[in-house]
Structures are given as structure tokens and as C-alpha cells.
Amino acid sequence: MPDSTVFIIDDDEAVRDSLSWLMKSAGLHAQTFDSADGFLDGYEDERPGCLILDIRMPGMNGLELQSELKRRDFRLPIIIISGHADVPMAVRALKAGAFDFIEKPFNDELLLDLVRRALEQDRKQREDMAETDACRARIDSLTPREREVLDLVVEGASNKQISAELGVSLKTVEAHRAKVMDKLQAESLSHLVRMAVSVIER
């Protein structure tokens, strides 16, 4: 994952710097920020990676940054670093969608493993996102009648039921179905349903 960056946000310079060094030793690219605001100012959404965030900082703390990122629809996985006393806060962060948390002092392998998994998730997330976007484009290319047929197929209706529902002949339904399968480049019915669901759920 050479194009991914580990964003490290910590107000303690030594911790920040040492984390950066640790990432570098593991062949990861890291960028450090001394505050949440600094990060928000310097980050663009396109950059893949993950966040290592000290939950307790002056100014905007970890939890607040997390909700701000969510508001901006940034989906970087967040690894929370917390002290022993901050466990309840970390749990709240997890519930709000953080990737994981790790308590100080931590084992380097454990942290690196978490980072790698977070980066993997980010990569997958970005792939999924790309695929979904393609699906949506295809779905958007359907005619209104084809769209009606797709919706009914996803609901699990049979061709006969569809023909009755739409008041068209069975033959017409089959022709629309074939068109939909073709337009969405579906390999099977289940593939079609998954694609449709992933788009509709969003």
C-alpha cells in the first residue's frame, strides 16, 4: 500500500515523532499533525490512509474530530490511542465508528497490525466505493420500465408476478430482465441483487 499515508495526530511531539519513526521502520508513509484542526486544514479527501489519534488533546479532542470527519463524509479508518483512564471515551469512539483503539503503552506489533488492517479496510472501502459508483451509473442508465423490473426482481418477485404487477406480457418481462442483466453486467441473479442492494442502501 505504497500510496497510503498514516496520519498521526498527537499534541505530544515525542509521541508523534516516535510513531512516525515506527511507521517508517515498517515501510509505511506517515504524516504528523499536532492538533485536530491542523489535520483538518491539511488533509484532502482523495488521500488514502488511516488516522492514529490521541483521544485527549487540548482544543478539539479525538471524539470531536471523529464526528467532524463524519460530518464531512471522510471515511478514513480511525485508530484511537488512549491512556488507561480514557477507556470509556475510547468505547464511545468505537460506537461512533472508529476502527479500533489501543491503550498506551502499546505493543508495536499490535499497533502496526492494526494500522495495516485499517489501511486494508480503507483500500477495500475505496474499491467498494468505486464499484458501487459504477453500479449506480449503470442503474441510472436503465429505462423507467427496466428500473421497475429491477426493483421487483430485487424484492424477489417471479416473472409471472412481475407481468401481473406491471400489466405486461410475460415475454415483455423476460426481455426487460435480459436487458437489465446486460446493462448492469450481472453474471448471475445473485450478483444483480447484491449490486442493486449496495446502491439502494446508500
Binding site: 515525542a14 509521541v15 516516535s18 510513531l19 515498517a26 485527549r56 488533546m57 491512556g83 480514557d86 498506551k104
Partner: protein
């Protein structure tokens, strides 16, 4: 004859309407009528001779003479020589002529006294024969009729007053003669010529009498018993002008022996004034006026003359004796009272538990009470009169010598200002010292001059002990409070420790990974990282060092403390709390502050307590407004430290009580923090005050003195 006189008198009366009246006082020893009848012709003679004046006779009794002359009621005086001598001495009269007496056809200007008895008293021949007899005289002041005889008695060695049975006075010569004749007395005395004249008048017969101590010679024709003296002098009184006196003197001298006036007055004209020394001698011998105070007084004389004075004197002496007795008794009572007072005084002094002693202006003890002996071990005898400073006060508590000129007791009677010293030492006889508090008050004598001081002192060993115990207790409480604070702060401190530990862990693991990967050219990077590791290890060590220092029991001694360094160390503890509470800290530390003589940990505890309160006070205000300010400065010779937050401030109602123990606005906590903090600051001689900042929030102000202040706490 009378007509002859009356006419010119009438004429004169008319002519001399403007004539000046001149009064001649005459001793009236034979009655006023006789006197006027004898002497008016002489006055008329003078008026005739000196027409500008009208002379008149003023008869005077023996008693009246002095007053008349003293008051100036008469211008001339004609009296017997004895009275004259007195007037001469007392009123400065001066004689201008002496009368010549007439006997038969002879004139003579002396006279004497005659002492006589009835002729048949053959037993009476000499004066000594009259011892135990009775004598009658004319008058005490009568010269011829008494004094002359008296002198002869004395000359004969007879003390008439004592040795004669009785001396009586008849008033006139005639009556004396008649009384002797009748045998009423053994003898009488009259002036010469009386007997002869009375015989001449046919009233007596000279044969009826015998003359005692009869004198002969000196061509004196009359019987006499005494020496002779000059006849009566005619004198001017002091106010009479000399010209008039001279004119009168000449007129009298020119009077013929047989002039009708002389015949009328039974004399033979006037001669120049005689020497009256014999009269002086007589009066002197008899100790009569004006010689009554002469030396030859006997005790009896003294008694006779001065009995009233002596009596008064005796009474006075008696009164004085009484007074003396009274004063002596009063004195005895006073000395008893004084003794009682002193006993009571001593009793009071000795019943007081405090030591009391007096000091004179030389610094020597004047008195001591029993408590002082008990406390110091010195006896009163060892203390009194000795220099108190050298005995009790010679060395200070720190072992340095205490010079006398710095002794507060001395200063008291130098500047008259009472002093109170609450912590000093006195040295006891056995060489150990005791802590004392004492007051020294100037004392004044009855004139208001300061003559020393009174010192009242108390052994404060017990007080010091309980103060020490209180201090110990306060230290223990402060220690407990610190432990409790640390307990509350443990997680924060753990976090603070975690930071460097995490950094070290990251650095080292990263380094190991780098080394394992066998990359080239990472040596320089590794060295740099290792240096960071070392500095983080030091950071962790520093936190632990601070922590240990803070929670240990402090050393009892103070030391010089740099308050800014203390604040920076405090921030180590504070950092986690600040991070947790999202509070931003601003330090405004004035550079180069003087150091304070203090217990560093206690001060740090106070600051930590105040800052943690401040952080806690801001938990409800928006993040952006959570600001903590710590400022140090030098202000008016004191180091001032401000701790200011931007919280909601302290409720007006609670402001007054926040420094009291167990008052708290927090849900948790005992409310001991501010109470202990204030205790610590006050023990340093400083003050901890609640101040009102301009905006919201709370400001606490610590001010600490620069000097070493009280060492007590």
C-alpha cells in the same frame, strides 16, 4: 492781781485770734486741778513772751503721757526725769530747760527721795530695818516717790520685792505721808520737799516722822534718803519746730526767780538743761524702762517681767510636745501601714505565676518575685543589684552574643516605650535556657522621671511545645492532603508518564525493525532516534522524581526557593489535567524574581491546589474559553502569585467562607484545600486572598514576604 492777769489775757485773746495754740503737757502727779493751778501762769507767761502763740496746760496722768507724746497731742512736755528719759528714748523728745525748785528764798535744781516712818518707830533706822516691813510709795513710775528709794534699797543689798513684806502705792505724795502718819504702813517714800511743804502748810509736823537712811551734804536744804537727781526738764516733742523750742527756751531762762508765774508754780525759774545721766543710771540699775531689757536679769526678773510670754511659751512647748507625740504616733502608724503594704505587695508579687522583676536605669535588678526565683533558679540575693542582662540575657537563642545595648529592657527605659517580646530566651542558673515571652514597662518615680522598668515574663516551653505540635499536625495534614491530591491525580500522572514511555517504546521498536531490515545508511538516523529515546527516558524520570518529592513528608527546614522554577515544575503535574479538561495555560512569569525562604513543597502544594480548583471551575464553560493564567511578579517588596481562571466565579455568599475548613463548592472533596493552603501561606508570613478579576472567573492572590519572616511554622 487777778484783774491784772485777766485784762492782758482778754486783750491777747482778741489780738491772738490767729495765734497758734501750743499745748504743754504736764505730769499731773498731784491731781489735775493742782496741776492747772500751778502751771497755767507759766503758760500765760510764755504766751505773753511769744505773742504769736497761745500756750495752754494739758494735765496728764502717768498713763496718759506716752499716748499724748506718741500721738503728738502736745508740743512741749513737762514730766519727771524718769519719764523724760523714757520719752527721750522712745519719742526723741529733747529737754530745753530744767526747772529750778524753790525752798524758802533758795533755788536749787536737783531733788531726791525721802524714806520715812513714824517718829516713834525707833526700830527703823536703816534700810535693812525695813526688811519684812511694809512700804508705801506714790506710784511705780514716780521717780522721787518710789524709784529713787528702790535704788537705795538695792544699793544696800536689799531686794525690796522679795524681802519687804509688801509694797503699796497711794497715787499721790500727800496720801503716802498721811498713810505713814496714820500707821497704815511701816514706812513711806516721797520726793524731797513734800514733807517740808506739808509741814509748812500746817498739815503735819516734821517731828512726827523719822527719816530712814538720811543723807547729808551737797548743800541741799531738805531732808533726804537718796542721792540727788536733776529736777524736772521742760522738753519739746519731736514735731515741735526748733525755732519755737529755742524761743521758749530763751523765754524760760529769762523768767526771773520771783516772777509771779514761778511763784505760782512753786519754783524758782529755769536754767539751761542739766545732764540726766544719773537718771539713766538709776533706771538702768533698776532695770526699768527704757532699760527693762538690760543684762542683769535674774531668773525671777525674767519670770516677773515675762511670765506671760514664758507661760505662752510653755503652753506652746506643751502643744508642740503634744504635736510631736502625735506625729511620732502617726509616723509609727504610717510605718506599720507601709510594712503591711509591702507585705501585701510581696504577697501579690509572690503569688503570681509569672516572673516579675524590676530593673534600674543601670540595668541592675531592684526586686524579684518568687516565681522568678523558681523559673530561673537564681535566688533573689543573687539577682538583686546584679546586671539582669548579663545574668539572664547574655546569649541569643542562636548562640550569638546578645549585646546589652540591644536588650529590649534597656530600650524600654531609654525611650519610655513599653515593649512586648513574644519569643526570646532567658538563661537559668544551671546554664540551660528557657523560652520566654515578656513585657517590659517603664516605671517613673514621684517626679515623673523614669527610674527603670518592670519586666513580667512567662516560661513558654509548653506553649512552644503545643505550637510545635500544631505545626507538626499542620504538616501532617498538608502531607495527607498531598497524598490525597496525588490519588486524585494518579491517572493524569500515569498518562503523563505514558507519553515518554510510549515514545521510547515506539522509537526503540522502530529502530529494532530498521536494524533487522538491514537497510543501508540508517546509522545517522538511528543515533538521532536514540538521543530522543534518552531524552524521553529523562522526561519520565523527571516526572517520577517530582512525584516522589511531592508525596514525601517534607523536611522541616526551609530553603531558598525560586518561585518560577517551582511553577514550571508544577506544570508537569498539571499538564494531564489541563489536557483532560481542555484548558489552555498561560504563564506570565516575571524574570529574575528574588528567591523566597520557604518550604518548597508546601508552596507547590498550594499552587497545585489553586490551579486544580481553577481547572475544575472551568469544566462547564465552552472549550475556547477555558483559560488558566499563572502570573508571578514582584510587587511592593513582596512576591505575588496570581492564579486566575475563566470559570463561573465564586458565589457571593460563599466568598467569605471559602478559606474555612470543610467549606466546599465541589461535590467531591473535603473542603480542606483552601484552608490548608491559607494555613501554609500564613505560616510563611504571607497572605492568600480571593480577588475579583475583571470578567467572570476567580482570581486567587498569594503574596509572600521576601525576608525570612517567622521561623515558627
Amino acid at each position: 492781781m487777778r484783774l491784772l492777769f485777766v485784762l492782758p489775757l482778754l486783750l491777747l485773746g482778741v489780738v491772738a485770734q490767729a495765734a497758734q495754740p501750743i499745748s504743754i503737757g504736764v505730769l499731773s502727779h498731784r491731781g489735775d486741778e493742782a496741776t492747772l493751778s500751778h502751771w497755767s501762769a507759766t503758760a500765760d507767761y510764755l504766751t505773753e513772751q511769744l505773742p504769736d502763740y497761745r500756750f495752754s496746760i494739758n494735765p496728764l496722768d502717768f498713763e496718759e503721757v506716752d499716748t499724748a507724746v506718741g500721738d503728738g497731742a502736745v508740743d512741749f512736755i513737762l514730766v519727771n526725769p524718769a519719764i523724760y528719759v523714757n520719752l527721750e528714748v522712745n519719742y526723741r523728745v529733747s529737754r530745753i530747760a530744767t526747772m529750778k525748785n524753790r525752798w524758802g528764798d533758795k533755788a536749787y535744781n536737783t531733788f531726791g527721795g525721802v524714806i520715812f516712818a513714824r517718829a516713834e518707830r525707833y526700830d527703823l533706822n536703816s534700810l535693812a530695818d525695813l526688811k519684812s516691813g511694809t512700804l508705801m510709795a506714790v506710784n511705780e513710775s514716780s521717780l522721787g516717790g518710789y524709784m529713787m528709794a528702790l535704788r537705795e534699797f538695792k544699793a544696800a543689798g536689799i531686794e525690796p520685792y522679795r524681802e519687804l513684806r509688801d509694797i503699796s502705792f497711794a497715787g499721790t505724795h500727800d496720801r503716802v505721808v498721811m498713810a505713814v502718819r496714820k500707821g497704815l504702813v511701816d514706812a513711806g517714800t516721797v520726793r524731797t520737799d513734800i514733807l517740808e511743804r506739808m509741814a509748812d502748810e500746817g498739815r503735819i509736823n516734821l517731828n512726827e516722822f523719822r527719816i530712814i537712811n538720811q543723807q547729808t551734804g551737797e548743800d541741799f536744804p531738805l531732808v533726804r534718803s537718796t542721792r540727788l537727781y536733776p529736777e524736772w526738764p521742760f522738753s519739746k516733742v519731736r514735731h515741735t519746730p526748733n525755732t519755737l523750742a529755742r524761743q521758749v527756751s530763751i523765754a524760760l531762762a529769762e523768767m526771773p526767780e520771783n516772777h509771779p508765774a514761778a511763784l505760782r508754780g512753786n519754783y524758782a525759774g529755769w536754767t539751761i538743761p542739766l545732764d540726766y545721766q544719773p537718771v539713766h543710771d538709776l533706771l538702768q540699775e533698776l532695770l526699768l524702762p527704757p532699760y527693762q531689757y538690760s543684762q542683769q536679769f535674774t531668773l525671777l526678773d525674767v519670770w516677773q517681767r515675762y511670765w506671760a510670754w514664758l507661760f505662752s511659751g510653755l503652753i506652746l512647748l506643751f502643744i508642740m510636745g503634744g504635736l510631736t507625740t502625735w506625729v511620732l504616733r502617726l509616723n509609727r502608724e504610717l510605718s506599720h501601714a507601709k510594712q503591711r503594704l509591702e507585705q501585701r505587695h510581696a504577697l501579690i508579687l509572690d503569688s503570681v505565676a509569672d516572673g516579675i522583676y524590676g530593673v534600674d536605669t543601670d540595668g541592675n535588678s531592684t526586686f524579684v518575685n518568687r516565681a522568678m526565683e523558681g523559673i530561673t533558679g537564681w535566688s533573689a540575693a543573687e539577682l538583686i543589684g546584679k546586671n539582669q542582662h548579663q545574668l539572664l540575657h547574655h546569649t541569643r537563642a542562636d548562640g550569638s552574643p546578645h549585646p546589652g545595648e540591644e536588650c529590649p529592657v534597656y530600650h524600654t527605659f531609654r525611650d519610655n516605650v513599653p515593649r512586648y517580646v513574644d519569643d526570646d530566651i532567658f538563661w537559668c542558673k544551671d546554664g540551660h535556657s528557657i523560652p520566654v515571652e515578656y513585657s517590659s514597662t517603664p516605671i517613673r518615680d514621684e517626679n515623673g522621671e523614669i527610674n527603670g522598668a518592670v519586666v513580667v515574663f512567662r516560661d513558654i516551653t509548653e506553649r512552644k511545645k503545643s505550637a510545635e505540635e500544631a505545626r507538626q499536625h499542620q504538616m501532617e495534614m498538608a502531607h495527607v492532603a498531598r497524598l490525597s491530591t496525588m490519588g486524585e491525580m494518579a491517572s493524569g500522572i500515569a498518562h503523563e508518564l505514558n507519553q515518554p514511555l510510549s515514545a521510547i517504546s515506539n522509537y526503540t521498536h522502530g529502530s529494532i525493525r530498521m536494524l533487522k531490515s538491514g537497510q543501508e545508511g540508517i546509522r545517522e538516523q538511528l543515533i538521532e532516534v536514540m538521543e530522543r529515546v534518552a531524552s524521553q527516558a529523562e522526561r519520565a524520570g523527571e516526572i517520577i522524581r517530582q512525584l516522589r518529592r511531592f508525596i514525601r513528608k517534607e523536611e522541616p527546614d526551609r530553603k531558598w526557593v525560586d518561585i518560577n522554577q517551582l511553577i514550571n515544575e508544577l506544570v508537569t503535574f498539571l499538564q494531564p489535567e489541563l489536557r483532560k479538561a481542555g484548558v489552555s495555560l498561560r504563564l506570565e512569569l516575571q524574570e529574575a524574581l528574588p528567591q523566597l525562604w520557604a518550604h518548597d513543597i508546601q508552596l507547590e502544594q498550594v499552587l497545585l491546589n489553586l490551579t486544580r480548583n481553577a481547572i475544575e471551575a472551568m469544566q462547564d464553560v465552552p472549550l475556547s474559553r477555558r483559560k488558566l493564567l499563572i502570573r508571578s511578579s514582584l510587587l511592593a517588596g513582596k512576591v505575588e502569585i496570581l492564579v486566575e481562571d475563566t470559570g463561573h466565579g465564586i458565589d457571593e455568599k460563599v466568598r467569605e467562607t471559602i478559606f474555612e475548613p470543610f467549606i466546599t463548592t465541589k461535590e467531591q472533596g473535603m473542603g480542606l484545600g483552601l484552608s490548608i493552603s491559607r494555613g501554609i501561606i500564613e505560616a510563611h508570613g504571607g497572605r492568600l486572598l480571593l480577588d475579583t478579576p475583571a470578567g467572570d472567573g476567580t482570581r486567587l492572590r498569594i503574596s509572600l514576604p521576601l525576608d525570612k519572616g517567622e521561623e515558627g511554622a
